[in-house]
């Protein structure tokens, strides 16, 4: 984790780990993304990466149990919007998950694996940390250089 950044703005919220939370999480993220002055494409992509990450937490980390939470922190500093998602479910090794083949013909196309692809391709940095104290996913989207 890069400790050199000085957070200027920090928002934190906790959401129940259910699909029904995704719309509220999106609102929370879009507000922060707008505050970080991302353009509409940037906002969409951060929204998308966070939606995929939270869907994975709900489905895979918590295995659709309805008791867990997702802690969501947005930090905006001079250079980036950083989103930290914490859960206390099952850890996993993202490096063990292969990239899906998005050029396969229809019949061979699997309907899984696109979530991680959006997270990887649409964020500038992605860090996973798994520990006894829970799992942390850090998603970083660089801001445009501020206007002079």
């Amino acid at each position: 984790m890069e400790v050199s950044r000085k957070p200027l703005i920090v928002h934190t919220a906790v959401f129940p780990a259910r699909y029904e939370s995704l719309a509220s999480i999106s609102q929370f993220i879009r507000q922060a993304a707008a505050q970080a002055e991302l353009d509409s494409t940037g906002v969409y992509r951060v929204d998308s990466a966070v939606d995929e990450a939270c869907s994975n937490i709900i489905e895979h980390a918590y295995g659709n149990r309805v008791t867990g939470n997702i802690e969501c922190t947005c930090q905006i500093d001079d250079t980036a919007l950083t989103i930290i998602l914490r859960d206390y479910g099952r850890p996993f090794n993202p490096n063990a998950i292969p990239e899906p083949d998005v050029t396969a013909p229809l019949e061979e196309r699997t309907d899984h694996g696109l979530g991680l692809l959006f997270i990887r391709k649409w964020m500038d940095e992605v860090h996973y940390e798994f520990s006894e104290q829970g799992n942390t996913l850090t998603l970083v989207k660089y801001r445009k250089p501020p206007k002079q």
Binding site: L22, Y44, D47, S48, V102, L106, E107, R109, H112, L114
Partner: protein, 111 residues
Amino acid sequence: MQITSAQYKHCDLVKPSGRIDSATAPQFAEALDQIMAKGQYKIAIDFSQVEFISSAGLRVLINTQKLCKRYNRGEVALASVPENILSALELAGFTTLFKIYEDVLTAVGSF
């Protein structure tokens, strides 16, 4: 998400609006399943009012496309896809799997 549909002579049109995410994708799937249950496999989807689609929505699309194209009985075509959603489709490699039309009229007229 809200979803409306209309039946034309040679295809059905589905118009979702709002977010298609893990919470709402089942509803999207159901609307498409209902059409296929009637024996209709030519389906146009109007994306003009869709704000967001996640991989859960893409999963519905690809599974529906597989069912529709089976036995050459039809296909799913997309129309009026907003820019950000189009770039999601591109990243997922869907632009080679679906015909994508500028507008709904052209999509419906193509069937």
